[in-house]
């Protein structure tokens, strides 16, 4: 039976249960009227347009009259475009990026306007900062491996497992391990540095093992996924789970595993721009994305992970917490993320990373 079938019924059931009334309750009618007058909301995002289109369609069905102008680019471009356009006037209404540290920096630098959500009870505390930055998803980070070429027994269950695997099965994995290049990928840097903060020495052991295995670093998850699927690489570390699971549905070569000692979780951050041209529409969108209805779509149709606790399913915060228990380690949306945006700290980390990664 196709997994989608069960999901679809679930969605329809949930929507029926909530009813339009439930969603509308979360939004003040004044805002909605203003938003319809504005007519558009402009979003700069790093999430793939294709993934997001069910969300957009649902939003536009819910609020006819508000058109979503969605621009997807990579995180560097989102940042670039936003700050350069903001310097001359106004840019997008909302930013939605997986680059959590960049988002926090922008908010910290005053590019965001505050908004109090109508209902924050179902959202974790660390997901809202200053009422300006909001986490919208709950995405685990794990291992991705080639099912055809890696035995089930070899799939690591913890981080230490992985280090051991690389050290003991050196021949098999030489040149066949891949991970983010922290120098090229902002998300990658964030993951590795958060990993180092969480795991300490364990992370550097792992990094050293990867280095000795001749790890191939890439700048994007897509490239890594491609190389794993083809068998050029066997296993990838610190990879975005949502994307991998999506790929695994179509490609039988891809397998995904989440470590049970701790699994980092990232959340795509969104904020409303201070100079937004359509502030009301932006607020309506924000409410929608964080509403039960929006989050349901996120979990079940957008192939992301929902962060709202009252959404059912595997691809939600509750689902993950059920599966992994206390292993989940979400990265909080907080000024701590700014640490490594400091030039010297960042370069220091990179230096350490490069020296550990370089095979002796």
């Amino acid at each position: 039976m196709h997994p989608r079938f069960t999901r679809r019924t679930l969605v329809l059931a949930t929507l029926a249960a909530i009813g339009v009334h439930g969603a509308a309750q979360a939004q003040s009618s004044a805002d909605i009227a203003k938003a319809k007058a504005e007519g558009t909301v402009v979003i700069y995002s790093t999430t793939d347009q294709k993934q997001v289109s069910p969300l957009i369609k649902d939003f536009e069905a819910l609020y006819p009259g508000i058109k979503v102008e969605y621009h997807d680019m990579n995180s560097t471009e989102v940042y670039n475009r936003f700050i350069s356009e903001s310097a001359v006037g106004s840019s997008a209404d909302l930013l939605w990026t997986s680059s959590m540290d960049q988002a926090v920096k922008l908010v910290n630098d005053g590019y965001a306007q505050p908004y109090k959500l109508s209902d924050t009870s179902k959202l974790p505390d660390w997901a809202i900062w200053k009422n300006e930055a909001f986490g919208t998803t709950y995405e685990p980070i794990g291992f991705v491996y080639n099912k055809r070429l890696v035995d089930a027994a070899e799939v690591p269950k913890t981080h230490a497992d992985f280090t051991k695997l690389l050290n003991t099965k050196a021949e098999k994995f030489k040149g066949k391990v891949t991970t983010y290049d922290p120098e090229k990928s902002g998300v990658g840097f964030m993951l590795h540095s958060q990993d180092a903060m969480t795991n300490g020495a364990g992370f550097w052991e792992l990094a050293k093992a990867m280095g000795q295995a001749g790890v191939r670093v890439q700048s994007s998850s897509g490239t890594m996924m491609e190389r794993i699927a083809s068998g050029e690489n066997l296993i990838g570390y610190n990879m975005l789970g949502a994307y991998a699971l999506l790929r695994a549905q179509k490609d039988p070569s891809i397998g995904v595993a989440f470590p049970s000692d701790y699994t980092l979780v990232i959340s795509r951050v969104t904020f409303i721009a201070k100079q937004a041209k359509h502030p009301a529409a932006a607020r309506v969108w924000l409410e929608y994305v964080l509403s039960q209805r929006g989050q349901t779509v996120i979990a079940n149709q957008a192939d992301l992970f929902a962060i709202r606790s009252d959404v059912q399913g595997e691809t939600t915060i509750s689902g993950l917490q059920a599966k992994l228990g206390s292993a989940v380690k979400p990265i909080p949306i907080a000024p701590a993320l700014l640490t490594y945006l400091d030039q010297s700290k960042r370069l220091e980390f990179l230096k350490q990373w490069n020296s550990v990664k370089a095979p002796k």
Partner: protein, 602 residues
């Protein structure tokens, strides 16, 4: 130079006398005939240069110098120039000079540049000789094939190499089955240099073959009469005489080695081989937030190398022209008989074609039609049209394709119009304005496309009345036109040179003003040249990828920059399908060009 039959040349008559009398000097006819060639004294004093010319040159200067100066300015600030708190400093340079990666990248750039020149020069010259001077079979259909790599986007080519010859590429898999192991590593610096060299053979070929074609056959025949067999003729006469053209091509190769971006981006990433352009690109994310000042500093360093090279090229070109064969009679060039070497020659050419064109393009085509590939995958099981369906269902992709077509056709035409305007400034004149134009046209050549696009983006962002055009194709068009200024100019100039000055002079004498001469005589006469240039510019614009990268926004997508962005995001199926579409577009342009007999070489 054959004189007309029976012309009476022995009696020294002067101009036809009118009334049966010997004429005196300076009659009306004489002075009219003299006027177009020399500047007569006593003309009414006015502006030294015609106004339209000044306007064109002024615009040119503005368009060329603004991005360049912006880059320079940015390189001396502590942060992005539009952010408050950016102060003047040489910190950017201090940073990159203290960064070991910069030196590694510089060293790699030099290595690749040298490798490129070392590989492409001998091969290009040999190919040119085989094609132009010998009776090697299949020359007619071989020529367009030889020029294919010029018009294929390097990103597409590199991607093709990964699919074909990467660690699990289909060629590699066959090699492993045959030999037990894959004897090459497509991601090594050596491989990058080799691929770069081989894909640039056509550039050298164009120069070498043009020089060989211009070689009067009489100098070679004279050598044969003196007693030299055909091979000695080649060695002692032909090659030394095209040496200036080869030197020019060599400098060009070296210079291009500093500019290449697509190849090292795709092939250098896995093992971390950086060149200056990819180092620059990496600076966009290394510090977590884009470091424009650092990127500008690297750009200044690149330009510091490429600009002298461009100047050197110009000097070499002048020298080469002076060295050209003294007017030879245009008798038929007899090809060299290869005899038993025919097979070897064809084998060499075919081997190059296989490696440089067939393998990567085959790789791209294959990947576009499968859902997954690699070790253990049975190709026949995974054939699909799904990738194309994805492309055509995605608004961005469709827009990119349409925009590419638009910018190639309409944009290309407009670009040719601009190039013609600039070309006409230098037409039949040799004054200071021509020299200024010359240098202005050369300068964008020295800037890597990547940076040029970024600079144009900044200009469009911060010049108020240009702002609305920023997220339209206009900004991309401006960037493309500026970047390819030198190439376009050369095309137009060679078309203009075909027009004999006497045709224009005759129009002047009949009473046409200089402007009317241009519209009524010059332009109609070069119409075919203009069309040919349009086709060539179309293909070049289709192939472009780096210039649009920083201009990429909803509304300005073109295939090339979308490919770069997709590569970075790793959406490989889309890359493959889009690449194939790009190849088809360029192929269509090439087919049309050949159909209309457009000469693809100078």
């Amino acid at each position: 130079m054959e004189q007309r039959e029976g012309t009476e040349m022995s009696s020294p008559t002067t101009t036809m006398p009118r009334h049966g009398r010997p004429q005196d000097d300076a009659t009306d006819t004489a002075s009219v005939l003299a006027a177009p060639r020399q500047s007569p004294q006593g003309r009414r004093p006015r502006l030294p240069f015609a106004t339209p010319r000044l306007v064109v040159v002024g615009l040119l200067a503005l368009v060329v110098l603004t991005p360049l100066l912006l880059i320079l300015y940015q390189s001396l600030l502590s942060g992005a120039f539009f952010l408050p708190g950016a102060t003047a400093t040489i910190e950017p340079f201090r940073f990159i000079f203290a960064d070991p990666d910069f030196y590694v990248a510089a060293r790699n750039s030099i290595a690749i540049a040298v490798g490129m020149a070392a590989i492409s020069l001998p091969l290009g010259a040999a190919l040119a000789f085989l094609m132009v001077r010998t009776d090697m079979p299949g020359r007619r259909w071989l020529e367009p094939l030889l020029l294919v790599p010029v018009f294929i986007s390097p990103v597409v080519l590199a991607f093709g190499y990964v699919v074909a010859m990467g660690p699990v590429g289909f060629v590699s898999i066959w090699a492993r089955q045959l030999l037990g192991d894959v004897p090459w590593n497509i991601y090594s610096l050596l491989s990058i240099a080799i691929v770069a060299g081989l894909t640039h053979v056509p550039h050298v070929y164009l120069y070498a073959s043009s020089a060989l074609r211009n070689l009067g056959s009489d100098v070679e025949e004279a050598a044969r009469i003196s007693g030299a067999n055909p091979f000695k003729v080649a060695l002692h006469v032909s090659v030394p005489l095209i040496a200036p053209a080869l030197l020019y091509a060599g400098v060009l190769m070296f210079f291009l080695g500093f500019e290449i971006f697509g190849l090292p981006l795709v092939l250098g990433d896995p093992e971390g081989h950086l060149v200056l352009t990819t180092y620059l690109y990496k600076l966009a994310s290394k510090l977590g937030t884009p470091a424009y000042h650092l990127m500008a500093a690297v750009a200044v360093c690149i330009i510091a190398v490429t600009l002298p090279l461009v100047l050197l090229q110009r000097a070499l070109l002048k020298h080469a022209k002076r060295y050209a064969s003294i007017k030879g009679k245009a008798s038929r060039q007899r090809p060299l008989m290869l005899g038993k070497w025919k097979l070897a020659a064809v084998a060499i050419v075919f081997a190059w074609l296989l490696f440089t064109v067939l393998i990567p393009l085959g790789g791209v085509t294959l990947r576009a039609f499968v859902t997954s590939w690699g070790e253990g995958v049975n190709i026949l099981e995974v054939l699909t049209l799904d990738n194309f369906r994805q492309v055509f269902e995605d608004g961005t992709m469709v827009r990119a394709i349409l925009n590419s077509i638009l910018i190639g056709t309409v944009g290309g035409g407009l670009a040719v119009a601009c190039y013609t305007a600039v070309g006409l400034v230098a037409h039949r004149k040799n004054d200071a304005l021509v020299r200024v134009t010359d240098y202005l046209v050369m300068m964008p050549r020295a800037v890597p496309g990547l940076l040029a696009g970024l600079a144009v983006f900044w200009v469009f962002l911060f010049v108020p009345f240009l702002n609305p055009a920023r997220s339209t194709l206009i900004s991309v068009w401006v960037a493309y036109t500026v970047v390819w200024l030198a190439y376009g100019m050369r095309l137009i100039q060679s078309a203009l040179l075909q027009v004999s000055p006497e045709l224009e002079e005759a129009a002047r004498l009949t009473g046409a003003s200089p402007r009317r001469v241009i519209t009524d005589v010059t332009l109609p006469l070069i119409r075919n040249g203009l069309l040919a240039s349009w086709l060539l510019v179309f293909m070049i614009f289709e192939r472009e990828y780096s210039t649009g990268v920083y201009l990429l926004a909803p509304g300005t997508e073109v295939i090339g920059s979308v490919l770069v962005s997709l590569m970075a995001a790793g959406a490989v199926e889309l890359v493959a399908a889009l690449s194939l579409i790009n190849i088809v577009l360029v192929g269509a342009g090439l087919a049309i060009a050949l159909r209309f007999g457009v000469k693809l070489h100078d």
